[in-house]
């Protein structure tokens, strides 16, 4: 206010000087008649009004009218108020003064407003740069709060992150507005009392935080812009965290897989010697029965360890997405005959039959992995059915592919477990003494799904039937050549 008085007094002083100068010029230097004088005063008033506020303009109009009246209107040297010409002159001066004054003050305030907006834009730009170019390891919250305080001249800033519950502060003063910050987030509306504004930070959804400011007034646009920038900054931090978490997880999987590969190699080395020795020993016909029995145990357990290690490695490869399919044209009938033949000694005494429908189409598949999957189903059937019961394998074809059915006469799998058996490490309850790691079905299904098929359990009268579908070559040919196995390869 004091500043405004000073300005006012200065303006009045200047206008007084101008008027006196004009008067002196018109009387002494260039003596003019009343009309000319009136016009000169008008110009003076216009000038004064453009450069001063309304009060000065009105005051100058009055003063100019009095001078004009006294020095130029007849009778000169006297104030004649009665003459209507006088009043018209006054009116003219006043109107001109008013109009000029309003126009110029309007223009000045517009210019002020424009300058202010430019400044605001510059601040916003600086703020956005500071926020968006911040490195990933800079603590964004406190950085943002401080930047807002600095750039926008706020005395106190408080930034509240709803997800982590942290509050970041900036500025010289303290702003104890915890409850207001939380309220803004919950209600999603702006809360303001006087100098302190608390606004929620929203990015196309529920509020993710709130911002409290104490300082010079913000324009609505600027405030909104700041809130948006803060929202974007928050989201950016979250996205970065998610991405690096994913990357860390993937690296950890790859590390696990590499480690597991190395360990498997380490296991296979002594297993090789054990297996070579045990089989060599057992091939001797004249072993004492007890020695033969012990040797058989060593041999079988070595096999078991070997398959455990192989399964674990395969599973870790699947998890790490590292397994690759090598597709060739596969005759499923021939593939299955090979697999069934390999079961020879293991299916001792049991009937393991294979029925192949004629005219089976060839499919494009990785023969090793498909053999593994089928072996797993047959192995399961042998393990979970009575020792003397038959296991029947059947292949037929449908319009979209080839179907392999493995049927056993065991107790079957109740409907509620039919999805669970395919999970990792699932062992059927009450069958804890059956050897295995619980990974077989998981691996088998992952393999088949990557080929575009699936493994499921069919409803049958008695016993248990697993079905495997392998799509036709044509469909697969559309997906390109080698595919990577992933645990959630979707159908």
């Amino acid at each position: 206010m004091f500043i405004q008085w000073k300005i006012l007094i200065r303006q009045l002083a200047w206008s007084a000087i101008v008027l006196i100068a004009v008067t002196l010029v018109c009387i002494r230097v260039f003596p003019v008649n009343a009309t000319t004088a009136g016009l000169v005063y008008l110009i003076a008033i216009l000038g004064i009004a453009s450069a001063s506020g309304l009060a000065t303009a009105v005051a100058s109009s009055l003063a100019a009218m009095l001078c004009f009246n006294y020095f130029f209107l007849p009778p000169v040297g006297q104030f004649t108020i009665a003459d209507p010409q006088n009043w018209i002159a006054l009116a003219a001066f006043l109107i001109a003064a008013l109009v000029a004054s309003r126009l110029s003050s309007h223009a000045r305030s517009q210019a002020r407003e424009a300058r202010r907006r430019v400044e605001e834009s510059e601040h916003l730009y600086a703020f956005s740069r500071a926020i968006l170019l911040a490195g990933p390891d800079q603590p964004l919250g406190s950085h943002a709060a401080q930047q807002i305080a600095e750039l926008f001249n706020c005395r106190a800033v408080a930034l509240f992150d709803a997800k982590t519950g942290e509050t970041f502060r900036g500025g010289v003063e303290d702003l104890p507005a915890e409850d207001k910050l939380k309220e803004a987030v919950e209600r999603g509306v702006r809360i303001g009392n006087g100098q302190v504004i608390v606004a929620p930070v929203i990015l196309g959804g529920p509020p993710i935080g709130s911002l409290a400011l104490k300082g010079p007034p913000f324009s609505e646009d600027a405030l909104r812009a700041v809130l948006n920038l803060v929202a974007i900054a928050f989201e950016r931090v979250r996205a970065q965290e998610a991405a690096s978490a994913v990357q860390a997880a993937r690296q950890s999987e790859e590390l696990k897989s590499t480690l597991l590969d190395a360990i498997a190699h380490e296991f296979k080395t002594p297993l090789t010697s054990i297996k070579a020795a045990s089989t060599s020993m057992l091939s001797n016909g004249s072993l004492a029965p007890q020695i033969r029995e012990l040797g058989t145990i060593i041999d079988e357990e070595a096999d078991r360890m070997n398959s455990l290690v192989t399964e674990a490695v395969r599973m870790s490869q699947i998890e790490a997405g590292k397994m690759r399919l090598e597709r060739t044209a596969v005759d499923v009938g021939a593939l299955l005959s090979d697999v069934v033949a390999q079961f020879g000694p293991r299916a001792e005494g049991r009937e393991l039959s294979l029925t192949v429908s004629p005219g089976l189409p060839q499919i494009s598949a990785d023969s090793e992995l498909v053999s593994l999957a089928i072996r797993q189903l047959i192995d399961n059937a042998l393990k979970y059915s009575p020792p003397a019961s038959p296991v029947r394998v059947r292949i037929d074809s449908g319009p979209d592919g080839v179907y392999v059915h493995v049927h056993d006469d065991g107790p079957g799998i109740p409907p509620r477990d039919r999805e669970r058996v395919f999970q990792k490490f699932y062992r059927r309850a009450g069958k804890a003494n059956v050897p295995g790691s619980g990974l077989g079905l998981f691996i088998a299904r992952a393999i088949v799904r990557t080929h575009g098929g699936d493994v499921w359990i069919e409803e049958t009268g008695g016993g248990c039937e697993f079905c495997m579908s392998l799509p036709l070559q044509k469909e697969i040919a559309e997906k390109r050549g080698q595919t990577t196995l992933s645990p959630d390869a979707n159908r």
Partner: protein, 235 residues
Amino acid sequence: MNVGRILVVDDEPQIRRVLRSTLTAEGYEVRDARTGEDALTALREERFDLILLDMNMPGMGGMETCRQIRESSEAAIIMLTVRDAEEDKVAALNAGADDYITKPFSTPELLARIRAALRRLPVAAQAHPESIHLPGLEINLPMRRIVVKGREVRLTPKEFDLLQYLLANPNVPIPHGRLLQAVWGPDYGGQVEYLRVFMNRLRKKIEPEPSAPRYLVTEPWVGYRFVLPGEADRL
């Protein structure tokens, strides 16, 4: 009774130990080597009928050792591989091995493969009394000499046996199974990839243009055929 001389190459002492014990019991004469370099040294000093070569060895690995052995020796080579992948098998055969077996293996199976690798087809003298002359290729079966464009070419025993069997039934497609059983033995029949690799090796050695074979022709889905043009000159 010495059934043959075998060189065992593996960096693992226990594996060398168990193989020595088993092979000696079968009547083979066994020497072992720890590394690829030692194996090459041993080969320079003595003659061996068969080499058991581990694929994963530190230093000069199994594949490189196999290639270097093939430059100077036609001894039978069986590679011991760790992984069961097809690419490993094909790589082993392409490097010059005659067969491979995956660790851990059962000894009877290994012994069967050793027997198959050491097996030689008797040369049926009456079928081809002398040489067969073809443009750019001269085959002398009784003397086991092959000359390609004037230069003598050395075939490994399995490659020679394969060629010989195909020649014994010229111009007729011979199924994969029959070829495998004749050359490798009755335990074999389904290993079509062996044939593929060996035929490629043969083609590279004796065909004037290996990528467009004139003599060793593929019969799609069936097998292979040796094309003996008309009545080729038989001296």
